[in-house]
Chain length 240, copies 2
């Protein structure tokens, strides 16, 4: 199921906001690893975040949503802006031109796409199991990668991931945003695992349980018999 991308949008003056792009940092969780969604562009470029340009008629948020769907096949996801990146050298000319020369359209040598632009960073958290990453025609692959084991990324995308992660950590408690990363039902250990992975630090099991339960946002379901020689944990789900 290949996504279509209208390459005409890359042409200058045909409905794109010059000098502005959006990049999406999408977090998922699997195998006790915090993952981020990356594209492998065709050619020998480093991996990059799914990003793209803003159409004249859409808001930045809408652009982020559309770009994420077109480039990675991920839709219906709540994205939040976290920072805007605007260092003058953030799009290194060589890599940059090499990348856009892989696109099979004519570009004027003076096209703004080949020059500096500003990028607005968006991030989101999603259930790993519900997403089928699908690369667009410009990319060889679209896959999840361990946030703590990233190889070098294109442009300033490494900095973007770091800053998104920092934002995620700071909002974890207040916005309870971490729950988006888990499936419908989960054990308390699953949740603690997630928290520990995001925060990159160990938490005390007993206090974590009390803290979460005191929030009164979880519904306790039946026990989960694992077959192991120990007490079976309860399953939980989010209250509506």
């Amino acid at each position: 199921m290949q996504n279509k991308i209208d390459l005409t949008i890359f042409r200058h003056g045909t409905g794109l906001l010059p000098s502005v792009s959006v990049d999406c940092v999408i977090f998922g969780f699997h195998d006790s690893q915090l993952k981020v969604l990356l594209l492998q562009p065709k050619g020998s470029c480093n991996k990059m975040l799914p990003g793209g340009f803003v159409q004249l008629s859409e808001s930045l948020n809408e652009a982020a949503q559309r770009v994420l769907q077109e480039r990675a096949g991920v839709k219906e996801i709540y994205l939040e802006q976290f920072y805007t990146f605007g260092a003058p050298n953030r799009t290194d000319d060589t890599i940059h031109k090499r990348y856009f020369n892989t696109i099979p359209i004519d570009l004027d040598e003076n096209d703004w796409i080949l020059k500096r632009f500003v990028s607005i960073g968006y991030y989101a958290l999603t259930d790993f199991t519900k997403v089928k990453p699908t690369p667009d025609v410009l990319s060889d692959s679209c896959d999840w990668y361990d946030v703590y084991q990233l190889s070098e990324l294109a442009f300033d995308h490494q900095e973007m991931v770091e800053r998104a992660l920092k934002t995620l950590r700071s909002k974890l408690d207040s916005d309870l945003v971490g729950f988006n990363l888990l499936p419908e039902v989960f054990t308390m250990q699953d949740l603690q695992n997630l928290y520990e992975t995001i925060l990159n630090e160990a938490l005390l099991r007993t206090n974590f349980q009390r803290k979460i339960l005191n929030l009164n946002i979880l519904e306790r379901l039946e026990k989960k018999m694992t077959g192991a020689a120990n007490k079976a944990p309860y399953l939980y789900k989010f209250k509506k």
Copy 2:
């Protein structure tokens, strides 16, 4: 002491990053009022935040610094990015064109300046007594206005002020950023006044004092004899 602004920078293709601007929300404090710095543009336009465009060679932060100095005469101030505004209709065409037609240069009807652009919001806090607001050639005045008594502002600048204020409130405790708004020495009541004004709520005098002193960031100086028939308060200054 009139600031100079090089009007050639408004010309298309002469070194500006298309579609991108910065706007600065500068907070000050005086007479128990939280103030924000606004320009009154020439013509009948609503008041606006000091803002401007980004040169191809400078970072967004540098652009914010420069723009603030050029348009309001405020320099050497630490600005922090708080949000990027990108609604497609944020620069209403009519007001927008009217404003840029007051600038005494030729603009192509299709110039991006007359169309939609994205604006990166920066905010800062500064000692009211140390700033001499100086309007640029495009403005009749540059002055402080009570944040809680603002008349309607141009474009989406009202939303910008609100969001900057929200950011300020959330960082008040953790970053101790409020102290920037006070002069070198101050009383505990001055500081509490400031906090209450920013947070828009009353605080308990005794607890506020203890909380601040427990931070161990203040140096207690001699008392301040006010001439009033009551105990003289201590003066404090920030430890380095």
